[in-house]
C-alpha cells in the first residue's frame, strides 16, 4: 500500500513539474504563434486621412517590435479592419475581432467619436483598451476601467496658448476673440475651456457659435467671424478641410487675426500644407503633445524610420503616427512586465501608477485612464516654406522657439 501511494505521489509530482515547465514556456500551444492585435481604423470616410496615418503608426511600431524579437518572444500580427469612420461599424468591428477572430489584444481607433463605442465593446469582453485619439472627457464619462489614453487630455489643449496670451504686455494683448467650433466631442471641450479662461483674462468674446461637423459650406460662418474683426480666432476644427475653408474665407475677406489657432488640422503635417498652400501656413498654431521635431530620443528614432519608409521631412509627419506608435509601446511594456497577455493583468498594471515611456514622452494613467504625465505644447508653422513646424509654447520649455506674434498676413 505504501509503495502504491509512493508511486501515485511520484506521478503527481511529475505531472505538477510538467505543468510548471509548460507554464514557464508560456501557454505552450501558442508559444510560437504570433500575438494578434485587433484594430478598427477609419480607412475611408471622414477620418480616412487620420485613420491611414494611424495605420502607419501601428505598422511602424509592429515592424520595429518584430525586428527586435517580438513581444514575449512572439511576433506581432496586426488584424486591421476598416470602420469607414462610422461609430456603428466600429462597434461591429471590435465585436468581430474579439469574438470571431479571437485576437489577443485590441488597440484603439481614431477619434473620440469612435473610441467611446469601441471602448464599451472591449469592456464587455474584459479587454484592455489602450488608445491614442480618444482624449476628450466623453471617452472617460462611462466609468469604464479598461480605457487608457496615451495622449494629452484634450480639455487642457489650449492652456499653454491662454497662458501665453495672458503673458503678453497690455499693449500687445488681444482684446477680442472668436470661437467657431464644430459639434464634435473632441473640439467642444477644448474650445469651451479656452473661451472661459480667456474671458476670465479679460479677452472679450465677439463670436461663439457651434456648426455641424458634416458641413460642406463654411463660407458664411467664416465670413461672420471675419466681420467681427476679432483679434484672435480659436477654431474648433476636427480636420484639414475645416481649417482650410476658414483660412481661405479669411484671406478672401482680407481679415488677418493676430493669432489663429485650430484644435486640429495644422498638426497633420504635409496634408495640411498641401491643402492650404505653404505660404498660408505661416503663423498657424495648433495644440498637441508631439511634433516631428520633438526632442525625445525614441521619437527621433521613430521619425527617422518613418522618413526612411515613407519619405518627407520631420515637420511633415502627422502627429497621429506618434499617437498610434505610443499605444503599441505602452501595451508592449505592460505585457513584457506581466510576462502575460492576460488583459485583466494589463488593466491592473496600467492602473498601478507605473510610469512608462513612449515617443510622446512619459505615460502614467490616473484613475480615469487619462495620461497624467502628458505635457501640452503649442506648435506653430513658421515661414512660408511649409517645412518648419516648431514647438513654441510653453515658452519656458527649453525646446520652444519664439512665437511668431502677431501672425503674418496670409500668403505673405
Amino acid at each position: 500500500m505504501k509503495g502504491h501511494l509512493g508511486r501515485l505521489a511520484a506521478a503527481g509530482a511529475m505531472m505538477s513539474l510538467m505543468g510548471v515547465v509548460l507554464a514557464a514556456c508560456g501557454n505552450s500551444p501558442n508559444a510560437n504563434k504570433p500575438i494578434t492585435i485587433g484594430i478598427s481604423l477609419s480607412l475611408s470616410g471622414d477620418f480616412s486621412a487620420d485613420g491611414q496615418a494611424y495605420q502607419r503608426g501601428y505598422e511602424l511600431w509592429a515592424s520595429y517590435v518584430n525586428s527586435h524579437g517580438g513581444i514575449l518572444g512572439r511576433q506581432v500580427k496586426l488584424d486591421i479592419v476598416s470602420d469607414a469612420s462610422s461609430p456603428t461599424q466600429v462597434d461591429t468591428n471590435y465585436t468581430k475581432l474579439i469574438t470571431l477572430n479571437k485576437v489577443n489584444l485590441v488597440f484603439g481607433p481614431f477619434s473620440t467619436l469612435l473610441t467611446v463605442p469601441a471602448s464599451k465593446v472591449a469592456h464587455r469582453y474584459g479587454y484592455a483598451f489602450v488608445e491614442g485619439a480618444g482624449g476628450a472627457p466623453a471617452a472617460f464619462a462611462n466609468g469604464l476601467n479598461n480605457i487608457f489614453d496615451v495622449s494629452l487630455p484634450v480639455a487642457d489643449y489650449m492652456v499653454p496658448f491662454v497662458n501665453y496670451i495672458k503673458s503678453l504686455p497690455a499693449s500687445e494683448r488681444p482684446t477680442t476673440a472668436a470661437y467657431p467650433t464644430s459639434n464634435d466631442p473632441f473640439t467642444e471641450p477644448v474650445i469651451k475651456k479656452a473661451q472661459s479662461l480667456l474671458q476670465a483674462a479679460g479677452v472679450k468674446t465677439v463670436y461663439s457659435q457651434v456648426f455641424p461637423a458634416e458641413d460642406t459650406d463654411y463660407a458664411p460662418i467664416a465670413q461672420n467671424v471675419a466681420a467681427t474683426h476679432a483679434d484672435i480666432v480659436v477654431l474648433g476644427s476636427v480636420d484639414v478641410p475645416t481649417v482650410s475653408a476658414f483660412m481661405q474665407a479669411f484671406e478672401q475677406d482680407h481679415y488677418n487675426p493676430k493669432a489663429f489657432i485650430a484644435a486640429a488640422g495644422p498638426d497633420q503635417g504635409s496634408a495640411f500644407v498641401s491643402a492650404v498652400g505653404a505660404a498660408n501656413t505661416d503663423g498657424a498654431m495648433v495644440p498637441g503633445g508631439w511634433s516631428g521635431n520633438y526632442a525625445n530620443a525614441q521619437s527621433k528614432a521613430m521619425v527617422k524610420r518613418y522618413i526612411a519608409k515613407y519619405g518627407g521631412t520631420p515637420a511633415g509627419v502627422n502627429a497621429d503616427v506618434a499617437e498610434a506608435y505610443s499605444v503599441g509601446q505602452v501595451v508592449e511594456q505592460a505585457v513584457e512586465h506581466n510576462k502575460s497577455l492576460s488583459n485583466a493583468e494589463i488593466i491592473k498594471y496600467l492602473h498601478s501608477g507605473v510610469t512608462m515611456n513612449s515617443v510622446q514622452g512619459q505615460v502614467q494613467f490616473n484613475s480615469k485612464g487619462e495620461n497624467g504625465k502628458a505635457v501640452g505644447f503649442i506648435f506653430q508653422w513658421q515661414g512660408t516654406s511649409g517645412t518648419t513646424f516648431n514647438q513654441v509654447l510653453p515658452s519656458s520649455d527649453p525646446n520652444s522657439v519664439k512665437t511668431v506674434y502677431p501672425k503674418p498676413d496670409w500668403g505673405s
Binding site: 480607412l43 475611408s44 470616410g45 471622414d46 480616412s48 486621412a49 485613420g51 491611414q52 467657431p180 459639434n183 457659435q209 457651434v210 456648426f211 455641424p212 458634416e214 458641413d215 460642406t216 459650406d217 463660407a219 458664411p220 460662418i221 465670413q223 461672420n224 466681420a227 480636420d239 484639414v240 478641410p241 482650410s244 475653408a245 481661405q248 474665407a249 484671406e251 478672401q252 475677406d253 482680407h254 497633420q268 504635409s270 496634408a271 498641401s274 491643402a275 492650404v276 498652400g277 496670409w410 500668403g411
Partner: protein, 294 residues
C-alpha cells in the same frame, strides 16, 4: 437682426447655390431621361476635382481652361459607365437597381482615387481662389463669382440644347414617353447613353469649383450626395430650372440662417422647408405631376 449678416448670407447663398446647381444638374438630367438615380454623382464631382488638380499641378493648366479637357474626359467616362452597367439593368427594376449599381461605381472610383492619390487632403489653387472683389461693402470671392458665371452659362447651354436642338427634342421626347419616342424613330438607348455622358460631363465644372473652395480627398463625395439629392428632389426630378432654383434656395436658406441665427440650425431649417414644400407640391418646385409611360 444684423442686416449686413442677412445680405452677406443672401449673396453667399446665390453665389454658392449656382455652383451646387452645376453639380446637381447632371443628376437631375440623368434621372429625368433615364429614371436612374446616380448615387455616384458626388464621387464624380470629386473625380472632376482630381482631374483639375492633375492638370494644374503636373501640367500647369489653369483651372478654368482645364475644364475644356476634364469635361470631355468625364463625358467619355459617363458613356463607359452607361455601356458597362446602366444599360444592362432590367427595365422593371431599373430605378431601384440603379441606386445599387451607381453606389458600386462610386465605391470603385473612390478606391481607384485612393490608390492613386492617397487620402491626404488637397485643394486647387489659383489667384482667383484667394482674391475677392469689394462691392458695396461686401467682399465677393472671385472663385464664386466666376463659378456663378460659369454655372449660368452652362445651365443656359444645357437649356438651349434641350429646347433648341433636334437632340434636345429627342431627350424631351424620351423623358415624356419612351415607347412613343421609339415609335417616331428616336433611338432611345442612344439618347440615354449620351444623356448619361452629358450628365457626368457637367460635373467637371462643378467639381473644379468644389475643389477650389474645399479641401478634398477621395471620400469627400459622400458629404455631397445627400445635398445634391435634396436639391434635385426640391427642384423637381428632371427639371434643370428646378435644380437651379432649388440649389439657390437651399444655399440662401442655409447661409442666411447660419449668418443671422446659428450654423447648427441652418440644415434643420432647410430640411424643414423641404418637407413643407414636398407636402404641398410632391413633384417639387418645377417638377411635372404626370407619370411617365415606359
Amino acid at each position: 437682426m444684423n442686416l449686413t449678416s442677412l445680405y452677406q448670407g443672401l449673396i453667399d447663398g446665390v453665389l454658392t447655390g449656382a455652383v451646387y446647381a452645376l453639380m446637381a444638374a447632371g443628376l437631375t438630367l440623368i434621372f429625368g431621361v433615364m429614371d436612374i438615380i446616380n448615387i455616384a454623382q458626388g464621387v464624380f464631382v470629386v473625380l472632376a476635382a482630381y482631374l483639375s488638380y492633375v492638370l494644374a499641378v503636373h501640367f500647369g493648366v489653369d483651372l478654368f481652361i482645364g475644364i475644356l479637357i476634364t469635361m470631355p474626359t468625364l463625358f467619355l467616362l459617363g458613356i463607359a459607365v452607361d455601356w458597362a452597367f446602366i444599360r444592362r439593368l432590367p427595365a422593371r427594376d431599373r430605378t431601384t437597381m440603379s441606386i445599387l449599381v451607381t453606389y458600386a461605381v462610386a465605391i470603385v472610383v473612390e478606391g481607384v482615387l485612393s490608390v492613386i492619390f492617397g487620402v491626404n487632403y488637397v485643394q486647387l489653387h489659383g489667384w482667383y481662389v484667394i482674391r475677392s472683389i469689394y462691392v458695396l461693402g461686401f467682399y465677393l470671392p472671385y472663385i464664386y463669382v466666376f463659378g456663378f458665371g460659369m454655372a449660368v452659362f452652362l445651365m443656359g447651354a444645357i437649356y438651349l440644347m434641350l429646347y433648341r436642338t433636334r437632340f434636345g427634342r429627342s431627350i424631351r421626347a424620351s423623358l415624356q414617353n419612351r415607347p412613343a419616342a421609339r415609335l417616331v424613330g428616336i433611338n432611345v438607348d442612344r439618347v440615354a447613353t449620351l444623356t448619361f455622358g452629358i450628365g457626368v460631363a457637367v460635373t467637371a465644372a462643378g467639381g473644379m469649383v468644389f475643389g477650389a473652395t474645399t479641401a478634398f480627398n477621395p471620400n469627400s463625395g459622400y458629404d455631397l450626395i445627400s445635398r445634391l439629392l435634396a436639391i434635385v428632389i426640391l427642384g423637381g426630378l428632371g427639371s434643370m430650372a428646378g435644380a437651379m432654383a432649388a440649389a439657390i434656395s437651399m444655399l440662401v436658406v442655409e447661409d442666411v440662417v447660419a449668418s443671422v441665427w446659428s450654423p447648427l440650425w441652418s440644415e434643420v431649417v432647410f430640411f424643414a422647408a423641404l418637407v413643407v414644400v414636398l407636402t404641398l407640391r410632391p413633384q417639387g418646385l418645377f417638377g411635372r405631376s404626370f407619370s411617365r409611360a415606359q
